[in-house]
């Protein structure tokens, strides 16, 4: 969770570099609340970027949330009135926390998940405001601070890699993206990469299902 404090600070510093003070950083972290989405969004505050591009690029970098939601459909059923906020606050970090932490036995799960997500966002808002203040007060060269985002993804990647069942899809993700990057170039490789990933994973699902079916038939014989 404290990981959010740090990448929040990094966001605040980057945003301050663009000319936006800590209030802007706080506002954005309260309304948007997305790690990589906000890092990317720092580049949108430029006359050369159209509003259509803003929507498209944001959608592309955040489209993975759709898949997070798909795996939480069941878990959020207990959330009742808090469900809209739970959906709004579904970030990478919060998502991985849902699977890393277990609800204590004497605590209501809906309340526990809600506490996790609100605490996570508080860290994020406070971090980005600290960064905003530091960025405007202390003149230091922040070149390279955006590596915090890369480091965050590497950490999540390593965490997932440690679970064996994640390795095949992780490899598919990396290889499909590399092929797509070489074929389509760095500015337009995400969408083709996603299509390749979906095709490979869904065909793998089909093959596995067929195997299971024929396995059952053989057993019955």
């Amino acid at each position: 969770m404290t990981g959010y404090l740090f990448i929040g600070i990094a966001f605040g510093v980057m945003f301050a570099d663009k000319g936006y003070n800590f209030l802007w950083a706080g506002l954005m972290s309260a309304l948007v609340y997305a790690g990589s989405g906000q890092y990317l969004a720092v580049n949108f505050f430029d006359p050369s970027v159209s509003l259509l591009q803003v929507v498209f690029l944001t959608f592309m970098v955040n489209v993975r949330h759709i898949f997070y939601g798909l795996s939480l459909l069941d878990k959020f059923k207990v959330s009742g009135k808090k469900k809209p906020y739970m959906i709004f606050s579904l970030t990478d970090e919060t998502y991985s926390l849902y699977f890393l932490t277990k609800t204590p036995p004497d605590v209501d799960e809906g309340k526990f998940l809600f506490a996790l997500s609100t605490l996570d966002q508080s860290y994020w808002i406070i971090g980005s405001m600290i960064g905003g203040v530091a960025g405007s007060l202390i003149p230091f060269d922040s070149t390279g601070i955006d590596f915090a985002m890369t480091a965050l993804f590497i950490v999540i990647f390593v965490e997932q890699w440690l679970e064996k069942k994640n390795r095949f899809p992780a490899i598919v993700g990396v290889i499909a993206s590399l092929i797509s990057l070489l074929a389509f170039g760095k500015d337009s490789f995400i969408l083709p990469a996603m299509i390749i990933i979906m095709i490979v994973l869904l065909s793998n699902h089909r093959i596995e299902e067929k195997k299971n079916k024929t396995g059952e038939v053989e057993k019955n014989d």
Binding site: L70, S71, F147, M149, A170, L201
Partner: protein
């Protein structure tokens, strides 16, 4: 508010657009499959395998502008990246891994590979 790269109102509009688009990506599954509706098997499977695949894709995304042909041949990125991996395998502490990797990367590109 004097030195904003775009106007005050445009800045607000950008923030609201980013907020709404982000919210949409989070809400779509819950709109498509409200409580009680049966989730197709293939979708359920994708829910399990897509997160690691997408994180793999995002790691590549972060390294997309690195050139291995021109100096410094992506060395700062790969050194800092490798340190994050090793440190994380060793300590499993998110803040430590991210913080060390970022500071190391900043030192590398500002002082070492100038």
């Amino acid at each position: 508010m004097t030195n904003l790269p775009v106007s005050f109102w445009r800045s607000l509009i950008i923030i609201v657009l980013v907020a709404l688009t982000t919210l949409a990506t989070r809400a779509i599954p819950f709109i498509l499959f409200p409580n009680g509706k049966k989730i197709p098997k293939a979708v359920e499977y994708l829910g399990k395998v897509l997160p690691p695949a997408v994180i793999g894709m995002l790691v590549v995304y972060c390294f997309k502008s690195v050139s291995i042909i021109e100096s410094p041949f992506g060395l700062p990125e790969f050194i800092a990246g490798a340190v994050v991996v090793l440190l994380h395998l060793w300590k499993r502490n998110n803040l430590l891994s991210i913080g060390t990797g970022t500071v190391l990367y900043m030192v590398l590109i500002q002082y070492v590979f100038v």
